[in-house]
């Protein structure tokens, strides 16, 4: 079963793996933005996760601990952002951009001496006979645990935001921090928690790049994936399952166009490469036409700092 020389099972399996970093980072950022904080430092947190995760795996030989380390690395960097914006009330956009620059530089410094090393491999989850099912075995049951984790987290975040008290509080803080404060919620503490969570998710996404997708460390390894994750959050209009679709679309089209070329297809790859960005623009135009910010589903207090004395 081939289309244009491409086996769809292999294609879908590769796009699921290729999308994991941007999916994890986008989910984290989605939660952060739902809490009313705009953290543009995703790229910096991802690359910190990539290097810290890589270092931990090299030192301990355990890829799992590497992912834990990556999450801690990303969360650690995000706490700098949290301190600056939630305690010192610095501008979130400027701080986020600075965080990216800082993360890129710090990771290059930490990574000295780690060039050219090979981390322990993260194998596929042994699902036994399930992996031998034609088509679906290859597509669904031949992945490493992080792929399943990313889908699982999509569901968890969707459920928590939609149906739990915690999700309600988080959304209240993001929609109207004054009202949430009046109700007695600690706005800045809740936001701090959300920022750390977002950092941990971005860090895991980064660790996936350096531990699984390109199992090595080179400076600037994430190469802009954090910015795509930010775009996906907007594309998804702050909804977790749409973020999953967005990540598979962005990741999938990259993989698809490379596979089409390798298979010698004559479809012009430039159009495929630009299509996710075109779709994002179209989605933005449609969502923002006419019905205002509410239709965009953007958290109303997004990007605004809060201080209890106001």
């Amino acid at each position: 079963m081939d289309f244009g020389g491409i086996n769809p099972a292999i294609l879908i399996a590769s796009l699921m793996a290729a999308s994991v970093p941007i999916l994890l980072a986008a989910l984290g950022e989605l939660v952060v933005e739902k809490a009313g904080v705009l953290n543009l430092g995703v790229e910096g947190m991802m690359i910190m996760g990539a290097i810290v995760g890589f270092m931990v795996t090299i030192q301990t030989g355990s890829p799992f601990l590497g992912f834990v380390g990556g999450a801690i690395g990303g969360a650690g960097l995000s706490l700098i952002f949290a301190f600056l914006t939630q305690v010192l009330l610095a501008n979130q956009v400027a701080t986020g951009l600075a965080l990216t620059l800082f993360g890129l530089g710090l990771s290059a410094l930490l990574g000295q001496g780690y060039n050219g090393l090979k981390p322990a491999a993260t194998g596929a989850v042994p699902l036994g006979p399930l992996a031998d099912i034609p088509f679906f075995g290859r597509v669904l049951f031949s992945h490493d645990w992080v792929v399943y984790f990313s889908v699982f987290m999509t569901g968890v975040i969707w459920y928590v935001l939609k149906s739990t008290r915690l999700g309600l509080i988080l959304r209240a803080v993001g929609e109207s921090h004054e009202a949430a404060h009046a109700l007695g919620y600690k706005v800045n503490r809740i936001r701090l928690g959300a920022i750390a969570f977002g950092g941990a998710m971005a860090g895991m996404g980064g660790a996936y790049v350096s531990l699984v997708r390109v199992p090595q460390w080179v400076d600037g390894i994430t190469a802009g994936a954090g910015w795509i994750a930010l775009a996906i959050v907007v594309f998804a209009s702050w909804k977790p399952w749409r973020a999953l679709i967005g990540a598979y679309l962005f990741g999938g089209i990259t993989v698809l166009q490379l596979n089409l070329q390798a298979a010698g297809s004559s479809i012009p790859v430039e159009y495929l490469s630009m299509s996710p960005y075109l779709i994002t623009i179209v989605v933005l135009v449609i969502m923002s036409s006419g019905r205002g910010k509410a239709a965009l589903n953007a958290p109303a207090a997004l990007g605004q700092n809060f201080h209890a004395s106001r």
């Binding site: 086996n7 970093p21 290059a108 790049v209 090595q216 080179v218 400076d219 993989v255 490379l258």
Partner: protein
């Protein structure tokens, strides 16, 4: 007040540059050499080698040279800003180390006639203070192609292209011609990554090729990611170090490499600036000139194939063999080189066609 001070110091800086220019003809006591890199120094490939060359300049002249560099400068408008800042900052000679800086280099050079600009792999010398330098990578590709043709078991070999520019097309043609020469059944798949440096995408490109049954991969991008991807196959797929030796993959998929050796050229040019003999140039050295080195061919390659590849390398170095020697037809079947004719440099530098036998189009 502050602005006035700023203007005054800028004017002073400009004056210093001008007086520096006047002294240039008679040599200089101290040269500030600046480098613009397209990726991070830690890429382990292209930029790593350029920086290595820069450090050789420092080693050769010590205190007489001051180095400055900037990493990961995007090709385009940003490059012009960086170049302008460097020129204003007192750089005497600026090396722009990627093809995409070509127009920015010439545009900024027009504004700073006393600063020397050196553009790698380009062909535009619109200003008298712009020189270009390049290496004949296609000679190294010929050696790789020979190894690829002999080593492939599936008769499918792959090439990860960065951008469809003459330098890359040249490499693809040379690689294919020499693989075909030793193995007529060989088929080449080309994947364009549209990036010089994006490890994840480079790895994806290598994976796409491997999924298609390719078992020898040559990369024309800057990182070691394609080798890392090939390493996942436990020896089923081999590849080559690109731009740098990439020795860390020696025990794995890397069977040989092309090493860009920029140091001697950088040392020569900065030295010329110091002693006052600097002139505009268009340098294009290859294996013979020591600018392209072939990295050690590992034991994964059978001895007779290794000997064959090394004989080819030596023939190119001695000047007895040109990798583009006719008869060669273009992809559409029309004649390019007649029997025994070798390709003129002009044809190579503007190469925008595949040779006969390669399938697929060059994106326009």
């Amino acid at each position: 007040m502050l602005r006035r001070t700023l203007l005054a110091s800028a004017a002073l800086g400009l004056g210093l540059t001008l007086s520096g220019g006047a002294a240039m003809a008679a040599g200089m006591d101290k040269v500030k050499a600046c480098f613009v890199y397209v990726g991070p120094i830690g890429d382990g490939g292209w930029t790593f080698q350029h920086h290595d060359g820069a450090l050789q300049v420092q080693a050769a002249y010590g205190d007489k040279v001051e180095l400055q560099w900037q990493e990961s400068v995007p090709e385009g408008a940003d490059a012009e800003r960086v170049l302008t800042q460097m020129a204003l900052g007192g750089c005497n000679i600026i090396f722009t180390t990627s093809f995409g800086y070509m127009d920015a280099t010439n545009a900024v050079a027009a504004k700073f006639p006393d600063v020397k600009f050196e553009h790698a792999t380009g062909f535009k010398r619109d200003q008298p203070n712009v020189s270009t330098y390049n290496a004949r990578f296609y000679e190294g590709r010929a050696v790789q192609g020979t190894i690829a043709g002999r080593m492939t078991k599936s008769n499918k070999i792959g090439y990860i292209g960065s951008f469809p520019i003459p330098e890359v097309v040249m490499g693809i043609n040379s690689y294919y011609l020499h693989a075909k020469k030793v193995n007529p059944a060989v088929e080449l798949s080309v994947v364009w990554a549209y990036t010089w440096f994006d490890p994840a995408k480079e790895a994806d490109a290598a994976k796409a090729l491997i999924d298609q049954g390719v078992d020898v991969i040559a990369a024309h991008t800057d990182s070691t990611a394609p080798l890392a991807e090939a390493a996942k196959t436990n020896g089923a797929v081999i590849g080559f170090g690109q731009a740098s030796d990439m020795v860390e993959y020696k025990d794995g998929p890397r069977v040989s490499s092309i090493i860009d050796n920029w140091g001697p050229y950088y040392v020569k040019r900065v030295g010329a600036l110091l002693d006052g003999t600097y002139e505009q140039a268009d340098a294009w050295e290859g294996i013979a000139g020591g600018e392209v080195l072939i990295g050690e061919i590992t034991a994964a390659v059978p001895a007779e194939v290794k000997a064959e590849a090394e004989a080819l390398r030596d023939a190119i170095a001695a000047g007895t063999y040109h990798p583009f020697t006719g008869p060669i037809n273009k992809q559409d079947g029309s004649a390019w080189l007649a029997e025994g004719a070798t390709a003129p440099d002009g044809d190579l530098l503007g190469m925008n066609f595949f040779v006969e036998g390669i399938t697929g189009d060059i994106p326009q």
